[in-house]
Point group: C2
Chain length 315, copies 2
């Protein structure tokens, strides 16, 4: 399934390079390799999974259109995939989502339906629209075709780096990217260990791997790492994480901001806070790492000017 997905998306995804800097190696005390998915179409890895799902649909179903819930990166990935495949997309977004992300999603051809988080039920809105128009729901992570698409990051990593042993750190929200990368690498690079990374206060994956059951976050918002804040990991992603991932790592928001500043200075890439947590773990949590090589996936770069300036001033 992973290889079939890769076959579908390969002509369209951007094959992101593997970046490094001797200055980052020195901070980390080991070799640091960075997979910059901020350079992917729409500024995050989400296009991979979205295009995998939409390209696998039968034509008649796809022609009726798709629907997704998202405040940001998944929205843009689905909108672009629908645009490329010549179908329509409806994206249900919270009215308080960043204006830039709403504008981008519209500009990519999606019909954006805004709802009020406090007073409206987004699932009810989605169910009504979906049923009325025969739209297919594209889930952000708990969907095998989406996971198979994100797995292409793992396949590219295996082709780009030949070391026998490495730790691969992946920003983890619902676990779509982490589980996809872990599945791909379990076959392609059995000597590597994949580890989810989360921000403080939203460490559900880390705690779930410890307890053996899906734990929830008590807070639902209030993090600068908006891209990877989910109530819990998915029903489908969790067993994959259990089977194929090593322990999670939790970083502070301040560490994520410092990692953004170092990515600016040393790698010349723009990273959003949630996208920077794995790099932060690679740089600042060396005592939790054991391999000589650490690969950090940067999952996205959709950050506004104000937050980026804050990171530069923190770093």
């Amino acid at each position: 399934m992973i290889h079939a997905a890769y076959g579908r998306i390969q002509p369209l995804v951007r094959h992101t390079p593997l970046l490094s800097s001797p200055f980052l190696d020195e901070i980390a005390g080991r070799k640091v390799l960075v997979k910059p998915e901020c350079l992917q179409h729409t500024g995050s890895f989400k296009f991979r999974g979205a295009y995998s799902a939409l390209s696998a649909m039968d034509e008649a179903t796809r022609a009726r259109g798709v629907i997704a819930f998202s405040s940001g990166n998944h929205a843009q990935g689905v909108a672009l995939a629908a645009q490329i495949l010549g179908t329509s997309s409806v994206i249900i977004m919270p009215a308080d989502a960043p204006a830039l992300k709403i504008d981008n999603t519209k500009a990519l051809g999606a019909e954006v339906v805004l709802y009020d988080r406090a007073t409206e039920d987004r699932d009810a809105i989605g169910a009504r629209l979906g049923a009325a128009r025969g739209l297919t729901l594209i889930k952000p992570f708990d969907e095998p075709l989406v996971i198979a698409g994100q797995a292409s990051v793992g396949l590219e990593l295996a082709a780009q780096c030949e070391v026998e042993s490495a730790e691969v750190l992946v920003p983890c929200g619902g676990g779509g990217l982490t589980s996809g990368v872990a599945l791909a690498l379990s076959q392609a690079r059995p000597g590597w260990r994949v580890r989810p990374v989360e921000p403080e206060g939203f460490d559900d994956a880390t705690r779930s791997l410890q307890s053996g059951k899906r734990e929830e976050n008590t807070r639902r918002d209030g993090s600068i790492c908006d891209a990877i804040i989910t109530p819990s990991v998915g029903e489908i992603t969790f067993p994959i994480l259990q089977k194929h991932c090593a322990a999670g790592i939790v970083v502070s928001e301040n560490e994520a901001l410092k990692a953004m500043a170092l990515a600016f200075k040393r790698l010349k890439i723009v990273v959003e806070p949630g996208g920077a947590v794995a790099l932060a773990a690679a740089l600042f949590h060396g005592r939790q790492l054991s391999d000589d090589t650490v690969i950090a996936v940067v999952s996205g770069g959709n950050v506004d000017e104000e937050m980026f300036i804050r990171a530069l001033k923190t770093g």
Copy 2:
């Protein structure tokens, strides 16, 4: 010579991807492709030429060490190439060069010799040191091996993009990158036109192509585009530009800053002012362009936080 250089440097250079955004296409009114050499080792294309030159030296000569004059990007490229090839480098830098660039050059293993622009003669310092130690001078652009190394940007572009007709815009200082790209593409993509881009007040290449002789800039400093400020194009590069390039384009500093902000927002890359001039021409000088596809080379990303924040606030 170009292909021989590519053979030497290919295992070591970073093969930078080709980036694009529908939002940039809309601004430009045509397809815009961006070659982000800011993602190259040391944050600029200069490593390509430096490694080409050093790797072509005979071992005994190389073992005595190399010397270069540079206030920034060439310095870091030579220092890294020397480090990789296990030899020593001496870099003569003005004492008022950006502290970050001096620190980076030192960190890459170079011996940095600072001089006072107002009171000291850098050529005399270089000649004395070079003679005493038997060092080989690595010129920044007017050197065939360096030009052949920069040409690898053109070879990569030809492999990455198959359109028959395109304009390729290249930031132009001494003309090493522009002439290398033009030479490579004159064979690989005869239907493409390479055009140098410069900042206002430092348009020597553009005027030289008009007049048919090497024109000089009246000013020697005072531009934010420090990476591409040279008194004139080179003796070796100029005839190549004459033979293989179309007319130059001149952009304002404000346009360069706006291009930096758009590269941040739409491509998620960090670009320095001098590295942004070709992208600025692609976005804001459409009336001087004629092809449906424009390829802009981003030559570097070594910019400090303060200047980058200024660009974000301008854009």
